[in-house]
């Protein structure tokens, strides 16, 4: 078009530009390109560490590659699936999808209402056959109609009864539409579920009770959805016991949390075993087995009054390359902010002292699979506490005042780092307090229990997503495997009988239709009483 002489119709108005954008969004090409872009973005998301999955690896990457790290950070490549451009591609893809689906659905509904249309010329179709049959045209066509109906063709007989049109395979387009609409439903389910739900982790030691409230989740583990109201269900979970089974080789076999479920009023609603692959459902929540560990019960007393008592959740050191994670000790900090000066006790737990000594003898770290005369190395720090974390201690404003070993059932004096009577396990590394030592601050280690980490999730979108997935599959199969086929039959009086003309074609799976057409012709020949000798078939591939 000459740019110097724009006609009034060609002037780009807003309306026309929008129409162009809409049209190009509707094209398959756009959808294809968007699909491939989505794949490309996902590739980036799988090659670089992602914040939601492994924040520690992202941090390490940023330190190791400052230049690239900064660039990738700005581009949102460390949270691809949460980035604005991933959302943009997804949204465009769905807009394109819906823009394509609306007119297609309308056309499909129209096509389904429409009856098959009679053909003018039958011998111009790809497959044609002729039969000579006795009787009159109307009865021959009626016989052909029965044959085709039995084969699930949609049949329309002409007003004069001497011709018919038939088709089959509307399921192909219907399946394709169901498949594609299912994605809209899927997106809806994901947005509703993730948007209005929440997920987080709860840590509780044996005997403890946990209540679903925002403050009770492990630090930083609670992820509320974008539209979540912030209300929680208030239901409770009490951990009765935790059991882990290992083979002697250290291969885990089973992790089971036996829990009591409490409704919002605190009434016991039931007991349940939560294990890997067997979550519990309760009060709109799904509760999954996530992790476990050891929690020594520690009691601190100052001049006879208890200032801290209960199980202390310990974390595990990361195993170096080639060492079983089960051989690593457990570590945590007991913080006593009410004392002046403030006191912190670092605890290093070895749950199986047998395995510990065998490790020393053999030089090979031994896995600790069960509790067996557990002991803890402890270090006492005095000074000012700067953060409440149980997994970390900032020692810059503190000084070490002593260290020692405490076995299960023993009590130690924290200020002098010596044993105050107790169990007397005969551990030569621990030293008993000399007689006459004034003990004011003591720590007892009466028991060692397990703790369990449960993942608690509320996702109301799951049934929608599941329904979408089922629809998607149900649509996909006919969309790929059925084919649209059209057939026509016309009967004309011929000497003492009728001449039947049969024609047809398939829009998909054409080689298979050749066989089917031959079978249909044979069946019509049978039904109309055509002798085999009079059947003249001219199936040809054009």
């Amino acid at each position: 078009m000459a740019p110097t002489a724009p006609t009034s119709e060609a002037r780009p108005t807003l309306r026309r530009s929008l129409a162009i954008v809409w049209r190009s969004l509707r094209s398959m090409r756009t959808a294809l390109i968007l699909l491939l872009l989505l794949a490309l973005a996902s590739v980036a998301g799988s090659l670089l560490p992602q914040i939601p999955n492994s924040p520690d690896r992202v941090a390490r990457y940023l330190v190791d590659h400052p230049l690239w790290g900064d660039l990738f950070w700005r581009a949102g490549l460390f949270d691809v699936f949460g980035s604005w451009w991933f959302t943009l591609i997804t949204v465009l893809l769905f807009v394109s999808l819906v823009a394509c689906l609306l007119p297609r659905s309308r056309a499909a509904i129209r096509a389904m209402r429409q009856r098959p249309v009679q053909a003018r010329e039958i011998d111009s179709f790809r497959h044609v056959a002729e039969l000579a049959a006795p009787g009159d045209a109307v009865s021959a066509v009626a016989a052909a109609r029965r044959v085709l109906s039995r084969r699930l063709y949609r049949v329309e007989v002409a007003p004069d009864g001497a011709a018919l049109a038939a088709d089959k395979g509307a399921l192909r387009e219907l399946g394709s539409l169901v498949f594609h609409w299912a994605f809209v439903l899927l997106l809806l389910g994901v947005v509703i579920g993730k948007g209005f739900g929440y997920t987080g982790r709860a840590t509780l030691a044996e005997g403890q009770t946990w209540t679903d409230a925002a403050v009770n989740y492990d630090a930083l583990s609670l992820r509320p959805g974008r539209y979540a109201s912030g209300d929680h269900t208030g239901v409770g979970i009490r951990l009765l016991s935790f059991r882990s089974d290992f083979r002697s080789t250290g291969v885990p076999m089973d992790f089971v949390s036996r829990v009591e479920l409490l409704d919002a009023e605190g009434e016991v609603a039931g007991t349940e075993d939560i294990r890997v692959n067997h979550p519990a459902s309760f009060g709109g929540l799904r509760i999954f087995q996530f992790g476990f560990g050891w929690a020594p019960v520690v009691a601190v007393e100052q001049a006879g009054t208890s200032i801290s008592e209960g199980p202390l959740v310990l974390g595990q050191d990361r195993a170096p390359e080639g060492v079983s994670q089960l051989a690593m000790p457990w570590r945590g900090f007991l913080k006593l902010p009410s004392l002046r000066p403030q006191i912190a006790v670092e605890l290093e737990l070895w749950p199986d002292s047998d395995a510990f000594f065998r490790s020393l003898e053999t030089g090979q770290p031994q896995p600790m699979l069960r509790q067996n005369a557990p002991f803890m190395n402890y270090t006492v720090w005095s000074g000012r506490l700067t953060d409440p974390s149980l997994r970390d201690l900032d020692t810059r404003s503190m000084e070490e005042i002593g260290s020692g070993v405490i076995g299960a059932g023993q009590t130690v004096d924290l200020e002098h780092a010596c044993l105050v009577g107790g169990g007397g396990a005969g551990d030569e590394t621990s030293s008993a307090c000399p007689a006459g030592t004034p003990t004011t601050l003591t720590m007892a280690f009466p028991d060692l229990v397990r703790y369990s980490v449960l993942q608690v999730t509320k996702d109301v979108g799951v049934p929608i997503v599941l329904a979408a997935a089922i629809l998607l599959l149900m649509g996909l199969l006919p969309a790929l495997y059925t084919s649209r086929r059209k057939l026509w039959v016309r009967a004309e009086p011929d000497r003492d009988g009728v001449r039947l003309q049969i024609g047809g074609f398939a829009l998909q799976r054409k080689p298979q239709f050749e066989e089917e057409f031959a079978k249909v012709v044979a069946a019509i020949a049978d039904a109309t009483g055509s002798s085999d000798a009079s059947a003249r078939e001219m199936v040809e591939a054009r």
Partner: protein, 317 residues
């Protein structure tokens, strides 16, 4: 027999299968070159023998471990190999009467099995608790089945691209009134020019005389490739959905963009792109085939690279 003996048997049978497939590959390529019927029979016989050893190896492995033998990459590879060979023997040799393509399929199988022995071999052991779910059987079976079908589809896509290039060249050469270039052993420069690409959809089985060169026509290869991919794609979809259901049970979320999940999704998206491209003007044929090849690469990354190099929840190899 003790479990240890069974494990040794399984390993030996695996090696027998590997070498039988290797011999079948050699025989099939030899048939492609010399067109002597006994070579084709030898190839089929060796393929069937390899398949029997392969299946026996899987069964003894299951007995040795006391569970269904699909718990790690070594076991997946054994099953993948068996399924590829079954699909090839049934769909291509038996149903479609094509015997020239075996070498390429066996090459794929031998590669898969050699990778398994080289990188993934572990003794039959117990499963991690997270893998102990009946969804595992459904998810893993369908993922392996889909991988084998998509894998064969992509072998044929490569052959299609090669053949299509040859056909185009020959057409171009003939249009230039020059003798056709000689491609492969069976090409005879004096045969009449019956090689123009067939219009529309070709016959299901082109007459042997109508073929030129050792391979079936490009259109036949394209259709075979499409059949296998269109068969594999819904199974891949189904397997991925089962994986999501299992993830919901085991990890509390149906989708978490774990590397294996992400790559399964990428592969799915690319093959979805392939199916759409075939129905799009301007993308049919070679362009769609190239998308299928990209899908093949993605399938390989999903199957191998995620386990070897990218750490995530699926790193069980």
């Amino acid at each position: 027999m003790t479990h240890a003996e069974l494990a040794v048997w399984s390993k030996d049978l695996f090696n027998v299968a590997l070498f039988a497939y290797l011999a079948a590959m050699v025989a099939s390529f030899a048939y492609l070159a010399f067109r002597a019927k006994p070579l084709a029979w030898a190839s089929t016989g060796l393929g069937v023998a390899g398949l029997l050893a392969n299946v026996a190896s899987i069964v003894t492995r299951g007995m040795a471990a006391g569970r269904t033998p699909w718990g790690n990459m070594y076991e997946y590879s054994a099953i993948l190999a068996a399924l590829v060979v079954v699909a090839y023997l049934v769909a291509v040799e038996w149903r479609a009467h094509l015997r020239t393509l075996g070498g390429f399929v066996y090459a794929f199988v031998v590669f898969t099995m050699a990778m398994a022995v080289q990188f993934f071999y572990v003794g039959p052991t117990d499963l991690l608790p997270a893998l102990n779910s009946y969804w595992r059987q459904i998810h893993v079976t369908s993922m392996i089945a889909a991988s084998s079908l998509l894998g064969i589809g992509c072998v044929f896509t490569i052959l299609y691209l090669v053949k299509d290039r040859g056909e185009r060249r020959r057409v171009a050469a003939m249009q230039a009134q020059e003798p056709p270039p000689i491609l492969g052993a069976a090409v005879d420069a004096d045969t009449p020019p019956d090689l123009l690409p067939e219009a529309g959809e070709p016959d299901p089985q082109p007459a042997p005389g109508g073929r030129r060169g050792p391979l079936p026509s490009a259109a036949t290869l394209d259709r075979l490739a499409y059949r296998f991919i269109a068969f594999g794609f819904p199974i891949w979809t189904f397997g991925t959905i089962c994986g999501a259901i299992w993830a919901q049970e085991a990890w509390g979320r149906y989708w978490g963009w774990d590397p294996k999940e992400t790559w399964a999704f990428i592969t799915w998206v690319i093959f979805a792109g392939y199916l759409h491209a075939r129905a799009t003007v301007g993308w049919k044929g070679r362009r769609a085939a190239v998308i299928a090849l990209v899908g093949f690469v993605s399938l390989f990354v999903t199957y191998y690279a995620v386990n070897l190099w990218i750490s995530g929840l699926h790193s069980y190899a």
